[in-house]
């Protein structure tokens, strides 16, 4: 198994590696190195295999060769019949969903998981016992058969219930997964047709326009200004141009291939489908991601641990008493029946169902707070999270470029970057601003999509790239209707931005009817713009650009750049009217207009600003002992700037580089221990051994990983897990899915996330907001605490149910409580109260304590078991025995007469058994009394379970600090307990099969003093825990 795992894994890595080369270009070698580093045991042959699969040479072929290869025609497309044939051969063009466990297997798993095995054993023992009885005595009573059947029924019911819960939560997710079917425009039979993208086959000629998803892997045949967003594939958000030229040997880097599921941002492209469905690049990654195994969730481990404890106790007590019973000369058959009783008494039948309900209640609560939980157990995992590896873009930031700073008049102004931009406070009176704003408005090709009049400006959809969109929205907010301004300043000619020019230029008529001059506006990379300028505008007046002004420009540029912001320079020139009359015809090819000696107006910097709720959330995480690590593909400077602004790197901590810079010494001389924060780039990471990575993860509190590739994200997650941390990973791209799967809890983004990411994740953030994770953590921690309480509550009565059997065997009393009655407690009266504990509020600020250590802080620890079993459980047993003895005594059997009465008592042939008063009892009269005893014992446990429920509300605080009535559900639980008890005793008291009888009202109160004693004892326990933290008492009594 291990072998196989690592194979899949290595294939996966080399797979993504290839993809990453697309954006990393020349750094091919560095990623090789990384791969060698991270996977020493990697399998060369597998890598080659995958390489072979990617031996795509379609990008090298000419159009005619392609036509030949795929038997198609670029003009007329495939014929419908041929397409149908290919569809039949290759299957639909969609990703095979990850392999699901068959429903029946899931169902059977529920049937045999947990305690079910024990109950099955019990049931079979019952039947075997009956079989033996029957073989010797044909008239053997059917009681054992009934009991066995009841046990099986219990197993099946709880199994069905758990299965139903599971299915329900899966359904939420699958409904969420359902998307509107994608359409594709395809040429077939020389006609353009719109067909569902699923029906595409290789050789189809498709047309994709800006805003559409690429429906399959396609080879570009022709394109007009097409740019695609490969971020879901590579994590890089920079749009990439696409054209029909073959530019690179590597299919993943060449410009003439577009990949399935990426988005065409602008322009149009016509291409031939070369791969569909699972054979696409995305298909490869998706199928490989499913190869990364799921770790067991912490709560699953805890529950398993708990089941082991309880089952261990049950089996060992059972066997111990089996031996005792046999050596006490009981018949083996009777001893087997005792064994069953002990098992039934020990197993909290209802508990696993309760846990499921509790988790799904919390899941519902979290869904309301925008955390959609796919996997119920993930609810708690989030609570035990100790490291969050967070993406930057979209999660911590708003995922849109926003104008953050402006520089004009030798001054830096701060723009409002909050989500609604409403509060722009910088000085807008300067006439330099008037000029600058004009350039911003005019030198911009972005436009709002029509039909959004009522949408707030910041939410309007825009056609154009990220920075132009930012500028458009910025100017729209400040100046009003930008379209109107552009209309007044008619555009005469423009040169769009391109990477060789690094500027964008346009020439406009002015809106002043008396001014016949043309206005040339230009924006671009600041240094390029500065080169083209000879003057600079300060306070509305042009000044010559001398060395000192150039220096102030550079200082400002460096400062803004140092903030990790993208800086743009703006300049303009009014073309003299005599040289450029109104009729002048501008020609962009010959550039018959000046592009130098312009007037520099200002700088403007943009950033993807952090979400306003994030800094607060990060602080909360920090106080909750959770390390937040930023892992991003972005530049270190930008990453660090965002990390600082959201508090991932706190204001007063420095990196090694910062210290070196401050002290003006080389980086090597800085004491590593002085630095609290670290910014590690992918370049550095690839040279590190896993020990070095461990060291970084262990030594630095504040870490930012920048320029990382997706598989490095996986390495970081593994590094964190080596520290015994429970790691949460956020991600949205396809490339994140292995890391999401690898993480203890993968969190996908609901809005920005790709389907592959959502599939791999355990949880989906519907609002893509980091702050939602924090609420999730809070809920997760609360549920862990509350589950502890629930389990403590449930375990307690096990002793009260078990003792009767032990006493029955040893002292020979008439059986105090029947197996069926026990089931009525476990699955009847105790269910609602134990669920009610899930609604308990936190005792103290749970976000101020460290996350639990997943190996040390167990759900069920020794203290919990000991305190529940040996303290409260024992007190309960005594209380219940008191009720039992009272009932028997008042009917004539005083306690001492009961001892060793068992054999005669249960003998059907003794119909004149004498009691303390000399009265004689028939078998049936005794049996009826025995049932009354069951009912009494039942009521005794029930009454004390009410006290138990109340004391379990808190583990440390006094009940009075917590508030007795704050959790109303508890009272519903208590009421349900009493009502069910009343119904069983008085409603069903006449149904003999259930062995309940109508109990006199006063017996309900016999155990009340014991219940009060339990409460008092527990208050004393909590008092000492609060008074002497860390003491012997605290260590032994706090669970």
């Amino acid at each position: 198994m291990r072998q196989k795992r690592s194979e899949i894994y290595s294939v996966e890595l080399s797979g993504t590696e290839d993809i990453v080369r697309t954006d990393q270009g020349d750094d091919k070698e560095k990623y090789r190195g990384l791969k060698n580093n991270c996977l020493e045991r990697k399998k060369k042959n597998h890598e080659e295999e995958f390489q072979k699969e990617l031996q795509l040479d379609d990008h090298k072929l000419s159009n005619t060769e392609l036509e030949k290869k795929y038997g198609t025609n670029i003009i007329t497309g495939l014929s419908s019949t041929r397409a149908a044939e290919l569809l039949a051969r290759d299957g639909p063009n969609s990703l095979t969903p990850p392999k699901q466990t068959p429903e029946i297997v899931k169902f059977l798993k529920q049937m045999v998981g947990g305690f079910s095995i024990l109950l099955w054993v019990g049931a079979f023992l019952c039947w075997i016992a009956y079989g033996i009885q029957y073989s010797s005595d044909k008239s053997a009573s059917l009681n054992n058969v009934y009991l066995g059947s009841v046990l099986v029924l219990v197993v099946i019911l709880t199994g069905v219930f758990a299965y139903y819960q599971e299915a329900k939560s899966t359904n939420i997710m699958s409904s969420f997964n359902k998307m509107i079917p994608q359409q594709a425009l395809v040429i077939r039979d020389s006609e353009k047709k719109t067909i569902p993208a699923e029906q595409l086959v290789v050789g189809d000629i498709v047309e994709v326009k800006g805003g559409d998803q690429i429906p399959a892997d396609i080879r570009v045949l022709s394109s007009q200004g097409c740019r695609v967003d490969n971020s879901s594939l590579t994590g890089e958000s920079e749009p990439q141009p696409r054209s029909s030229e073959f530019t690179h040997e590597n299919p993943l880097e060449t410009k003439n291939i577009c990949f399935y599921s990426t988005t065409c941002l602008e322009g149009t492209v016509t291409g031939m489908v070369i791969n569909t469905g699972d054979r696409t690049i995305i298909g490869h990654i998706a199928s490989l991601a499913s190869g990364v195994g799921n770790e067991k969730t912490p709560i699953a481990i805890e529950i398993e641990h708990f089941v082991h404890i309880v089952a261990g106790v049950a089996v060992s007590i059972g066997i111990l008493f089996f031996i005792i019973a046999v050596s006490l000369k009981y018949r083996v058959l009777d001893s087997v029946i005792f064994l069953i009783g002990i098992i039934v008494a020990n197993v909290p039948e209802g508990l696993l169902g309760t846990v499921t309900v509790t988790l799904s209640l919390t899941a519902k609560r979290m869904a309301k707070k925008n955390c959609l939980v796919k996997n119920l157990e993930a609810v708690e995992t989030l609570g035990s999270t100790s490291i969050i590896c967070s993406d930057k873009t979209g999660t911590l930031t708003q995922n849109r470029m926003t104008v953050a700073h402006l520089w004009f008049d030798n001054q830096i102004f701060v723009a409002d970057t909050s989500e609604d931009h409403s509060n722009q406070v910088f000085d807008q009176s300067s006439s330099t601003w008037a000029s600058l704003s004009k350039i911003i408005t005019l030198c911009n090709r972005a436009e709002f999509k029509p039909g959004q009049e009522n949408v707030p400006i910041m939410k309007k959809a825009v056609i154009g790239d990220a920075s132009e969109t930012a500028l458009l929205k910025f100017s729209e907010v400040i100046l009003g209707d930008v379209m109107e301004i552009r209309k007044r300043n008619r555009k005469v000619v423009e040169i769009p931005f391109n990477s060789t020019n690094k500027f964008q230029l346009s020439i406009h008529e002015t809106d002043d009817p008396h001014d016949k001059r043309f206005l040339l506006v230009m924006k671009g990379a600041p240094e390029r713009i500065l080169q083209k300028c000879s003057t600079i505008m300060i306070n509305g007046e042009e000044h010559p650009l001398d060395k000192s002004t150039a220096k102030t420009f550079h200082t400002a540029y460096m400062e803004l750049g140092g903030l990790g912001e993208r800086v743009l320079g703006f300049c303009h020139l009014y073309l003299p009217a005599d040289e450029f009359p109104e009729t002048y015809s501008f020609d962009i090819d010959t550039m018959n207009f000046p592009t130098s000696n312009l007037c520099f107006v200002g700088l403007l910097s943009m950033i993807d600003p952090p979400r306003s709720t994030v800094p607060d959330a990060v602080t909360k995480c920090r106080s909750a002992g959770i390390k937040v690590i930023m892992v991003t593909g972005d530049h270190p400077i930008t990453a660090k700037a965002i990390a600082k602004s959201v508090g991932i790197i706190s204001a007063n901590s420095e990196t090694v580089e910062d210290i070196a810079h401050r002290l003006n010494i080389p980086v090597e001389q800085v004491n590593q221990r002085d630095a609290k924060a670290a910014v590690v780039t992918g370049m550095e990471l690839k040279d590190m051994s896993s020990e070095q990575l461990d060291e970084i993860l262990a030594n630095y509190q504040e870490i930012v990983f920048a320029r990382t590739s997706p598989q490095q994200k996986l390495i970081i997650v593994e590094g964190c897990q080596r520290q015994d941390a429970v790691v949460a990973v956020t991600g949205d791209g396809v490339n994140d899915s292995p890391a999401l799967k690898k993480a203890d809890i993968g969190i996908a983004m609901g809005i920005a996330g790709s389907d592959a990411a959502k599939n791999a994740a355990d949880m989906v953030l519907l609002d893509d907001n980091f702050a939602s994770i924090v609420t999730g953590v809070e809920e997760g921690r609360l549920i862990f605490d509350n589950l502890k309480k629930t389990i403590a509550y449930t375990l307690t009565k096990n002793i009260a149910e078990l003792c009767p059997f032990l006493i029955y065997i040893i002292a020979g009393l008439p059986l105090p409580i029947g197996t069926i009655t026990i089931l009525f407690i476990d699955l009847g009266t105790d269910i609602i109260p134990s669920i009610a504990l899930a609604y308990e509020k936190a005792e103290s600020d749970i976000m101020n304590r460290k996350p639990r250590h997943k190996k040390k802080d167990r759900l069920v620890n020794k203290q919990l078991a000991v305190y529940s079993y040996l303290h409260i459980g024992l007190m309960q047993a005594l209380g219940a025995f008191l009720v039992y003895f009272t009932v028997y005594a008042q009917e004539g059997f005083l306690p001492h007469t009961l001892i060793n009465l068992r054999v005669e008592w249960e003998n059907d042939n003794v119909n004149d058994l004498e009691d303390h008063y000399g009265q004689e009892w028939t078998r049936y009269q005794r049996e009826y009394l025995e049932w009354t005893g069951y009912t009494a014992f039942f009521v005794g446990i029930l009454v004390q379970q009410i006290a138990d429920l109340i004391i379990r509300k808190t583990r440390r605080n006094s009940i009075f600090q917590q508030g007795l009535f704050r959790n109303k559900v508890i009272w519903v639980g208590i009421a349900s307990q009493i009502i069910i008890g009343l119904i069983l005793s008085y409603g069903l008291g006449s149904v003999t099969a259930l062995s309940f009888t109508m109990l006199r009202a006063q017996y309900w109160f016999v155990a009340v003093p014991h219940a009060i004693l339990i409460w008092v004892y527990d208050e004393v326990r909590k008092l000492f825990i609060r008074l002497y933290p860390g003491s012997w008492w605290d260590k032994n009594m706090y669970y």
Binding site: E718, H871, Q890, Q925, R1000, W1032
Partner: protein
Amino acid sequence: MAALQEKKTCSQRMEEFQRYCWNPDTGQMLGRTLSRWVWISLYYVAFYVVMTGLFALCLYVLMQTVDPYTPDYQDQLRSPGVTLRPDVYGEKGLEIVYNVSDNRTWADLTHTLHTFYSPAAQEDSINCTSDQYFFQERFLAPNHTKFSCKFTADMLQNCSGLVDPDFGFEEGKPCFIIKMNRIVKFLPSNGSAPRVDCAFLDQPHELGQPLQVVYYPPNGTFSLHYFPYYGKKAQPHYSNPLVAAKLLNVPRNTQVAIVCKVMAEHVTFDNPHDPYEGKVEFKLKIVK
């Protein structure tokens, strides 16, 4: 990944367990040092002593509240059970099978009856003749008790074993003893003595005639002066009244079901759950 999934080997587990049992570095046994063990044990001893004490106190209080002479509740003993001697049980209830000619098959039965009769000392009991209830409000008998009426074997005459030590088993006309269970302060009827009535459960078709029974004491009555019963403490020498039924015409070689009911106003025999309430059924087969 590797670190998390590593399975411990068996020897590692054993080593860990050994270390748990005795850790030489910290001097811990089973996770606690010796002094810690003493402390925790002392706590538990104290805790359990207190708990046991409290429980004992509760039981003591319970015993104090319980009436020594009469049980607090008798709702489950509304009607007395009836039992039969000799009592040999088969798969379903009483089943008596014996061979007239083989005395080994009924020796046990007669032995049961003999031992059943060997009465406790009845010196302190008085002879009663009245056929009224023998109510006693006060404790007039010696040692602060109440008087009990004497019931001796000879009152059963032919079925007493004194006249016929074989209780009629040899001649195929066996005696059966019917006993009514004691219930404190129970009054079976409103003045007439309760009477035993035995009959075939299902009238055997081939015989066509009812069961002929001779009852001892005559009429098969329990004399009223044995009632009410005041409990073991008040009447330590109480002896149960009995009725013997000598069955005269039991067919040979067939199993017959016979029911003996106690006829009295306050004795019911129609409880579907309790086959021994107010009546006793038994199967009898006399082989010849």
